[in-house]
Point group: C2
Chain length 205, copies 2
Protein backbone atom coordinates (compact mmCIF):
# COMPACT_ATOMS: atom_id res chain seq x y z
CA UNK A 1 0.00 0.00 0.00
CA UNK A 2 1.35 3.40 -1.02
CA UNK A 3 0.73 6.84 0.41
CA UNK A 4 0.46 8.25 -3.12
CA UNK A 5 -2.75 9.68 -4.45
CA UNK A 6 -4.81 7.33 -6.59
CA UNK A 7 -6.21 8.59 -9.91
CA UNK A 8 -9.98 8.73 -10.26
CA UNK A 9 -9.65 6.90 -13.54
CA UNK A 10 -7.98 4.00 -11.81
CA UNK A 11 -11.00 3.53 -9.56
CA UNK A 12 -13.29 3.68 -12.57
CA UNK A 13 -11.31 0.98 -14.35
CA UNK A 14 -11.36 -1.32 -11.32
CA UNK A 15 -15.07 -1.81 -11.96
CA UNK A 16 -14.25 -2.88 -15.51
CA UNK A 17 -11.57 -5.28 -14.32
CA UNK A 18 -13.91 -6.75 -11.73
CA UNK A 19 -16.59 -7.48 -14.26
CA UNK A 20 -14.14 -9.15 -16.63
CA UNK A 21 -12.61 -11.17 -13.79
CA UNK A 22 -16.01 -12.41 -12.62
CA UNK A 23 -16.56 -13.59 -16.19
CA UNK A 24 -13.20 -15.38 -16.25
CA UNK A 25 -13.91 -16.99 -12.88
CA UNK A 26 -17.22 -18.34 -14.19
CA UNK A 27 -15.33 -19.85 -17.13
CA UNK A 28 -13.06 -21.61 -14.66
CA UNK A 29 -9.88 -19.63 -15.41
CA UNK A 30 -7.48 -19.60 -12.46
CA UNK A 31 -4.83 -17.13 -13.59
CA UNK A 32 -4.76 -14.24 -16.04
CA UNK A 33 -2.02 -12.01 -17.43
CA UNK A 34 -2.31 -8.24 -17.67
CA UNK A 35 -2.20 -8.82 -21.43
CA UNK A 36 -5.29 -11.04 -21.50
CA UNK A 37 -7.22 -8.92 -19.01
CA UNK A 38 -6.38 -5.86 -21.08
CA UNK A 39 -7.91 -7.41 -24.19
CA UNK A 40 -11.13 -8.24 -22.34
CA UNK A 41 -11.40 -4.68 -21.01
CA UNK A 42 -10.17 -2.85 -24.12
CA UNK A 43 -7.36 -1.09 -22.28
CA UNK A 44 -3.55 -1.38 -22.38
CA UNK A 45 -1.69 -3.93 -20.26
CA UNK A 46 0.64 -1.34 -18.72
CA UNK A 47 -2.21 0.68 -17.33
CA UNK A 48 -3.61 -2.40 -15.62
CA UNK A 49 -0.31 -3.12 -13.93
CA UNK A 50 0.06 0.51 -12.95
CA UNK A 51 -3.47 0.60 -11.57
CA UNK A 52 -2.88 -2.42 -9.37
CA UNK A 53 0.50 -1.09 -8.27
CA UNK A 54 -1.25 1.72 -6.39
CA UNK A 55 -2.68 -0.85 -4.02
CA UNK A 56 0.01 -3.49 -3.74
CA UNK A 57 1.70 -6.31 -5.61
CA UNK A 58 -1.08 -8.69 -6.55
CA UNK A 59 0.63 -10.68 -9.32
CA UNK A 60 3.41 -13.22 -9.73
CA UNK A 61 6.15 -12.37 -12.20
CA UNK A 62 6.33 -14.74 -15.10
CA UNK A 63 2.88 -16.09 -14.27
CA UNK A 64 0.22 -13.41 -13.96
CA UNK A 65 -2.58 -12.81 -11.49
CA UNK A 66 -4.66 -15.31 -9.54
CA UNK A 67 -8.21 -14.61 -10.72
CA UNK A 68 -10.01 -15.29 -7.45
CA UNK A 69 -7.46 -13.51 -5.31
CA UNK A 70 -7.62 -10.48 -7.59
CA UNK A 71 -11.42 -10.42 -7.37
CA UNK A 72 -11.15 -10.33 -3.59
CA UNK A 73 -8.57 -7.54 -3.67
CA UNK A 74 -10.66 -5.37 -5.98
CA UNK A 75 -13.82 -6.06 -3.98
CA UNK A 76 -11.97 -4.89 -0.91
CA UNK A 77 -10.62 -1.74 -2.56
CA UNK A 78 -14.09 -0.83 -3.84
CA UNK A 79 -15.74 -1.51 -0.49
CA UNK A 80 -17.87 -4.24 -2.01
CA UNK A 81 -17.01 -6.97 0.47
CA UNK A 82 -19.75 -6.17 2.90
CA UNK A 83 -23.18 -6.25 1.33
CA UNK A 84 -25.19 -3.02 1.43
CA UNK A 85 -28.93 -3.36 1.96
CA UNK A 86 -31.08 -1.52 -0.54
CA UNK A 87 -34.80 -0.77 -0.80
CA UNK A 88 -36.51 -0.32 -4.13
CA UNK A 89 -39.40 2.12 -4.29
CA UNK A 90 -41.68 1.74 -7.29
CA UNK A 91 -42.30 -1.67 -8.86
CA UNK A 92 -43.07 -0.46 -12.39
CA UNK A 93 -41.05 -1.37 -15.45
CA UNK A 94 -37.67 -0.20 -14.25
CA UNK A 95 -38.36 -1.53 -10.77
CA UNK A 96 -39.27 -4.94 -12.16
CA UNK A 97 -36.19 -4.99 -14.34
CA UNK A 98 -34.02 -4.28 -11.30
CA UNK A 99 -35.75 -6.93 -9.19
CA UNK A 100 -35.24 -9.52 -11.91
CA UNK A 101 -31.64 -8.56 -12.46
CA UNK A 102 -29.19 -11.04 -10.98
CA UNK A 103 -25.68 -10.08 -10.13
CA UNK A 104 -26.17 -7.13 -7.82
CA UNK A 105 -24.84 -9.17 -4.93
CA UNK A 106 -21.59 -9.73 -6.76
CA UNK A 107 -21.35 -5.95 -7.02
CA UNK A 108 -21.80 -5.30 -3.32
CA UNK A 109 -25.45 -4.63 -2.70
CA UNK A 110 -28.72 -6.44 -2.39
CA UNK A 111 -32.31 -5.29 -2.76
CA UNK A 112 -33.96 -6.73 0.34
CA UNK A 113 -37.37 -5.07 0.11
CA UNK A 114 -39.52 -3.27 -2.45
CA UNK A 115 -42.35 -0.78 -1.98
CA UNK A 116 -45.32 0.17 -4.14
CA UNK A 117 -48.75 1.76 -3.71
CA UNK A 118 -50.58 -0.67 -5.99
CA UNK A 119 -52.80 -3.11 -4.02
CA UNK A 120 -52.33 -5.78 -6.71
CA UNK A 121 -48.58 -5.78 -6.22
CA UNK A 122 -48.37 -5.41 -2.44
CA UNK A 123 -47.84 -8.74 -0.70
CA UNK A 124 -46.31 -10.47 -3.71
CA UNK A 125 -42.69 -11.53 -4.01
CA UNK A 126 -40.45 -10.98 -7.02
CA UNK A 127 -37.24 -12.96 -7.12
CA UNK A 128 -37.70 -13.56 -3.38
CA UNK A 129 -38.01 -9.84 -2.57
CA UNK A 130 -41.30 -8.93 -0.84
CA UNK A 131 -43.32 -5.96 -2.09
CA UNK A 132 -44.60 -3.88 0.82
CA UNK A 133 -47.09 -1.05 1.09
CA UNK A 134 -45.30 2.26 0.61
CA UNK A 135 -47.35 3.58 3.54
CA UNK A 136 -44.99 1.65 5.84
CA UNK A 137 -41.86 2.98 4.15
CA UNK A 138 -40.16 4.95 6.93
CA UNK A 139 -40.74 2.45 9.71
CA UNK A 140 -39.63 -0.57 7.71
CA UNK A 141 -36.49 1.17 6.51
CA UNK A 142 -35.52 1.85 10.10
CA UNK A 143 -36.31 -1.58 11.52
CA UNK A 144 -34.46 -3.30 8.67
CA UNK A 145 -31.46 -0.97 8.79
CA UNK A 146 -31.50 -0.11 5.12
CA UNK A 147 -28.76 2.22 3.86
CA UNK A 148 -29.62 2.73 0.20
CA UNK A 149 -32.86 3.73 -1.52
CA UNK A 150 -33.50 3.23 -5.20
CA UNK A 151 -36.21 5.48 -6.59
CA UNK A 152 -38.05 4.08 -9.62
CA UNK A 153 -41.36 5.90 -9.27
CA UNK A 154 -42.91 8.40 -11.69
CA UNK A 155 -41.33 11.86 -11.72
CA UNK A 156 -44.26 13.43 -9.86
CA UNK A 157 -43.78 11.22 -6.80
CA UNK A 158 -39.99 11.19 -6.72
CA UNK A 159 -39.48 14.27 -4.59
CA UNK A 160 -41.85 13.13 -1.85
CA UNK A 161 -40.26 9.67 -1.77
CA UNK A 162 -36.80 11.21 -1.49
CA UNK A 163 -37.81 13.13 1.62
CA UNK A 164 -39.42 10.07 3.16
CA UNK A 165 -36.31 8.01 2.47
CA UNK A 166 -34.26 10.64 4.28
CA UNK A 167 -36.63 10.41 7.25
CA UNK A 168 -36.30 6.63 7.15
CA UNK A 169 -32.58 7.05 7.69
CA UNK A 170 -31.09 5.95 4.39
CA UNK A 171 -27.61 7.32 3.67
CA UNK A 172 -27.78 7.42 -0.10
CA UNK A 173 -30.35 7.58 -2.88
CA UNK A 174 -30.13 6.42 -6.45
CA UNK A 175 -32.87 7.91 -8.60
CA UNK A 176 -34.15 6.99 -12.04
CA UNK A 177 -36.46 10.00 -12.05
CA UNK A 178 -35.30 13.01 -14.07
CA UNK A 179 -33.21 14.59 -11.31
CA UNK A 180 -33.43 17.62 -9.06
CA UNK A 181 -34.59 16.06 -5.80
CA UNK A 182 -34.70 18.20 -2.71
CA UNK A 183 -31.35 17.54 -1.10
CA UNK A 184 -30.69 17.29 2.57
CA UNK A 185 -27.10 17.85 3.66
CA UNK A 186 -26.43 14.44 5.17
CA UNK A 187 -27.74 12.36 2.29
CA UNK A 188 -26.07 11.61 -1.02
CA UNK A 189 -28.09 11.54 -4.21
CA UNK A 190 -27.15 10.17 -7.62
CA UNK A 191 -29.40 10.32 -10.66
CA UNK A 192 -29.52 7.97 -13.61
CA UNK A 193 -30.87 9.56 -16.76
CA UNK A 194 -31.45 6.68 -19.15
CA UNK A 195 -31.89 8.99 -22.13
CA UNK A 196 -28.54 10.72 -21.58
CA UNK A 197 -26.73 7.49 -20.84
CA UNK A 198 -28.05 5.96 -24.02
CA UNK A 199 -27.24 9.05 -26.08
CA UNK A 200 -23.67 8.84 -24.79
CA UNK A 201 -23.36 5.20 -25.79
CA UNK A 202 -24.88 5.90 -29.18
CA UNK A 203 -22.43 8.74 -29.76
CA UNK A 204 -19.45 6.50 -29.14
CA UNK A 205 -20.82 3.74 -31.34
Amino acid sequence: MKPKTIPEETIGRLFLYLRALLCLAREGKETVSSQKLAEACHVKPTIIRKDFSYFGEFGTRGVGYDVNQLIQEIRHILNLDNLMKAALIGVGNIGMALLNYTGFEEEGFKITVAFDNNRDKIGKKINNVPIEDVAHLESMLQTQGIQLGIIAVPESAASEIAQRLAQGGVKAILSFAPCQLITSDNIQIACVDLATEMARLVYYL
Copy 2:
Protein backbone atom coordinates in the same frame (compact mmCIF):
# COMPACT_ATOMS: atom_id res chain seq x y z
CA MET B 1 -13.72 26.24 -35.19
CA LYS B 2 -10.16 25.29 -34.27
CA PRO B 3 -7.90 22.65 -35.73
CA LYS B 4 -6.79 21.66 -32.22
CA THR B 5 -7.52 18.24 -30.79
CA ILE B 6 -10.57 18.06 -28.56
CA PRO B 7 -10.31 16.24 -25.22
CA GLU B 8 -12.47 13.17 -24.75
CA GLU B 9 -13.60 14.61 -21.44
CA THR B 10 -14.95 17.67 -23.17
CA ILE B 11 -17.26 15.51 -25.30
CA GLY B 12 -18.41 13.66 -22.21
CA ARG B 13 -19.27 16.90 -20.44
CA LEU B 14 -21.24 18.22 -23.43
CA PHE B 15 -23.88 15.59 -22.63
CA LEU B 16 -24.08 16.95 -19.09
CA TYR B 17 -24.39 20.51 -20.32
CA LEU B 18 -27.08 19.52 -22.79
CA ARG B 19 -29.21 17.88 -20.15
CA ALA B 20 -28.94 20.88 -17.84
CA LEU B 21 -29.71 23.27 -20.70
CA LEU B 22 -32.81 21.31 -21.71
CA CYS B 23 -33.94 21.64 -18.09
CA LEU B 24 -33.32 25.40 -18.11
CA ALA B 25 -35.16 25.74 -21.42
CA ARG B 26 -38.19 23.97 -19.96
CA GLU B 27 -38.12 26.42 -17.05
CA GLY B 28 -38.23 29.26 -19.58
CA LYS B 29 -34.70 30.59 -18.98
CA GLU B 30 -33.34 32.44 -22.03
CA THR B 31 -29.72 33.05 -21.05
CA VAL B 32 -27.31 31.40 -18.68
CA SER B 33 -23.79 32.22 -17.47
CA SER B 34 -20.99 29.68 -17.27
CA GLN B 35 -21.23 30.20 -13.52
CA LYS B 36 -24.86 29.10 -13.30
CA LEU B 37 -24.46 26.24 -15.73
CA ALA B 38 -21.44 25.07 -13.76
CA GLU B 39 -23.48 24.86 -10.56
CA ALA B 40 -26.15 22.79 -12.28
CA CYS B 41 -23.56 20.37 -13.66
CA HIS B 42 -21.24 20.30 -10.64
CA VAL B 43 -18.21 21.42 -12.62
CA LYS B 44 -16.11 24.61 -12.65
CA PRO B 45 -17.07 27.62 -14.79
CA THR B 46 -13.67 27.87 -16.46
CA ILE B 47 -13.87 24.34 -17.80
CA ILE B 48 -17.22 25.09 -19.39
CA ARG B 49 -15.86 28.13 -21.20
CA LYS B 50 -12.78 26.18 -22.26
CA ASP B 51 -14.92 23.30 -23.50
CA PHE B 52 -17.04 25.58 -25.68
CA SER B 53 -13.96 27.42 -26.93
CA TYR B 54 -12.87 24.30 -28.81
CA PHE B 55 -15.88 24.68 -31.06
CA GLY B 56 -16.36 28.42 -31.40
CA GLU B 57 -17.49 31.52 -29.54
CA PHE B 58 -21.02 30.78 -28.41
CA GLY B 59 -21.44 33.38 -25.69
CA THR B 60 -21.77 37.13 -25.33
CA ARG B 61 -19.28 38.85 -23.01
CA GLY B 62 -20.94 40.49 -20.07
CA VAL B 63 -24.16 38.57 -20.71
CA GLY B 64 -23.67 34.81 -21.00
CA TYR B 65 -25.01 32.17 -23.34
CA ASP B 66 -28.34 32.02 -25.15
CA VAL B 67 -29.89 28.80 -23.84
CA ASN B 68 -31.65 27.71 -27.02
CA GLN B 69 -28.78 28.61 -29.30
CA LEU B 70 -26.38 26.69 -27.09
CA ILE B 71 -28.65 23.64 -27.16
CA GLN B 72 -28.57 23.73 -30.96
CA GLU B 73 -24.77 24.09 -31.03
CA ILE B 74 -24.25 21.13 -28.68
CA ARG B 75 -26.79 19.02 -30.55
CA HIS B 76 -24.87 19.72 -33.71
CA ILE B 77 -21.48 18.90 -32.18
CA LEU B 78 -22.81 15.62 -30.80
CA ASN B 79 -24.50 14.66 -34.07
CA LEU B 80 -27.89 14.66 -32.41
CA ASP B 81 -29.63 16.93 -34.87
CA ASN B 82 -30.72 14.19 -37.20
CA LEU B 83 -32.80 11.54 -35.49
CA MET B 84 -31.46 8.00 -35.57
CA LYS B 85 -34.00 5.19 -35.97
CA ALA B 86 -33.73 2.41 -33.42
CA ALA B 87 -35.38 -0.99 -33.06
CA LEU B 88 -35.94 -2.58 -29.67
CA ILE B 89 -35.72 -6.36 -29.45
CA GLY B 90 -37.31 -7.90 -26.36
CA VAL B 91 -40.34 -6.29 -24.72
CA GLY B 92 -39.72 -7.58 -21.19
CA ASN B 93 -39.12 -5.36 -18.18
CA ILE B 94 -36.19 -3.40 -19.53
CA GLY B 95 -37.79 -3.19 -22.94
CA MET B 96 -41.00 -1.83 -21.46
CA ALA B 97 -39.10 0.69 -19.39
CA LEU B 98 -37.34 1.94 -22.52
CA LEU B 99 -40.57 2.14 -24.52
CA ASN B 100 -42.23 4.13 -21.78
CA TYR B 101 -39.27 6.45 -21.36
CA THR B 102 -39.81 9.86 -22.88
CA GLY B 103 -36.95 12.07 -23.86
CA PHE B 104 -34.97 9.85 -26.20
CA GLU B 105 -35.91 12.08 -29.12
CA GLU B 106 -34.32 15.06 -27.40
CA GLU B 107 -31.17 12.97 -27.24
CA GLY B 108 -31.04 12.15 -30.92
CA PHE B 109 -32.74 8.82 -31.42
CA LYS B 110 -36.18 7.30 -31.57
CA ILE B 111 -37.41 3.74 -31.09
CA THR B 112 -39.66 3.25 -34.12
CA VAL B 113 -40.39 -0.46 -33.80
CA ALA B 114 -40.16 -3.21 -31.19
CA PHE B 115 -39.91 -7.00 -31.60
CA ASP B 116 -40.87 -9.90 -29.35
CA ASN B 117 -41.69 -13.60 -29.70
CA ASN B 118 -44.64 -13.55 -27.30
CA ARG B 119 -47.99 -13.89 -29.16
CA ASP B 120 -49.73 -11.87 -26.43
CA LYS B 121 -47.51 -8.88 -27.07
CA ILE B 122 -47.22 -9.00 -30.86
CA GLY B 123 -49.60 -6.57 -32.58
CA LYS B 124 -49.96 -4.27 -29.58
CA LYS B 125 -48.62 -0.73 -29.38
CA ILE B 126 -46.74 0.78 -26.46
CA ASN B 127 -46.35 4.54 -26.45
CA ASN B 128 -47.23 4.46 -30.16
CA VAL B 129 -44.50 1.95 -31.01
CA PRO B 130 -45.81 -1.26 -32.66
CA ILE B 131 -44.63 -4.64 -31.37
CA GLU B 132 -43.84 -6.96 -34.28
CA ASP B 133 -43.08 -10.67 -34.51
CA VAL B 134 -39.35 -11.23 -34.14
CA ALA B 135 -39.63 -13.71 -37.04
CA HIS B 136 -39.82 -10.71 -39.37
CA LEU B 137 -36.82 -8.98 -37.82
CA GLU B 138 -34.31 -8.88 -40.69
CA SER B 139 -36.76 -7.88 -43.42
CA MET B 140 -38.41 -5.12 -41.39
CA LEU B 141 -35.09 -3.65 -40.33
CA GLN B 142 -34.09 -3.35 -43.94
CA THR B 143 -37.34 -1.92 -45.29
CA GLN B 144 -37.51 0.64 -42.48
CA GLY B 145 -33.85 1.61 -42.75
CA ILE B 146 -33.06 1.13 -39.08
CA GLN B 147 -29.52 1.93 -37.97
CA LEU B 148 -29.50 1.00 -34.28
CA GLY B 149 -30.59 -2.17 -32.48
CA ILE B 150 -31.26 -2.30 -28.76
CA ILE B 151 -31.05 -5.82 -27.32
CA ALA B 152 -33.17 -6.36 -24.22
CA VAL B 153 -33.75 -10.11 -24.48
CA PRO B 154 -32.60 -12.81 -22.03
CA GLU B 155 -28.90 -13.65 -22.12
CA SER B 156 -29.49 -16.98 -23.89
CA ALA B 157 -31.06 -15.31 -26.93
CA ALA B 158 -28.79 -12.26 -27.14
CA SER B 159 -26.11 -13.75 -29.35
CA GLU B 160 -28.54 -15.00 -31.99
CA ILE B 161 -30.34 -11.65 -32.07
CA ALA B 162 -27.03 -9.82 -32.49
CA GLN B 163 -26.22 -11.84 -35.59
CA ARG B 164 -29.67 -11.30 -37.03
CA LEU B 165 -29.41 -7.56 -36.41
CA ALA B 166 -26.14 -7.56 -38.33
CA GLN B 167 -27.85 -9.35 -41.22
CA GLY B 168 -30.65 -6.82 -41.07
CA GLY B 169 -28.09 -4.11 -41.75
CA VAL B 170 -27.96 -2.19 -38.47
CA LYS B 171 -24.75 -0.22 -37.91
CA ALA B 172 -24.65 -0.37 -34.13
CA ILE B 173 -25.96 -2.47 -31.26
CA LEU B 174 -26.63 -1.53 -27.69
CA SER B 175 -27.04 -4.57 -25.46
CA PHE B 176 -28.43 -4.97 -21.97
CA ALA B 177 -27.44 -8.65 -21.92
CA PRO B 178 -24.27 -9.50 -19.99
CA CYS B 179 -21.86 -8.86 -22.85
CA GLN B 180 -19.64 -10.89 -25.15
CA LEU B 181 -21.70 -10.91 -28.32
CA ILE B 182 -20.15 -12.36 -31.44
CA THR B 183 -18.69 -9.34 -33.16
CA SER B 184 -18.64 -8.72 -36.83
CA ASP B 185 -16.08 -6.20 -38.07
CA ASN B 186 -18.42 -3.65 -39.56
CA ILE B 187 -20.77 -3.38 -36.61
CA GLN B 188 -20.24 -1.52 -33.35
CA ILE B 189 -21.40 -3.04 -30.08
CA ALA B 190 -21.81 -1.40 -26.68
CA CYS B 191 -22.93 -3.23 -23.57
CA VAL B 192 -24.78 -1.85 -20.58
CA ASP B 193 -24.27 -3.86 -17.41
CA LEU B 194 -26.83 -2.52 -14.95
CA ALA B 195 -25.16 -4.21 -11.99
CA THR B 196 -21.78 -2.61 -12.71
CA GLU B 197 -23.28 0.77 -13.45
CA MET B 198 -25.16 0.72 -10.18
CA ALA B 199 -22.14 -0.48 -8.24
CA ARG B 200 -20.21 2.46 -9.67
CA LEU B 201 -22.88 4.93 -8.59
CA VAL B 202 -23.11 3.36 -5.15
CA TYR B 203 -19.34 3.60 -4.75
CA TYR B 204 -19.36 7.32 -5.42
CA LEU B 205 -22.28 7.94 -3.10
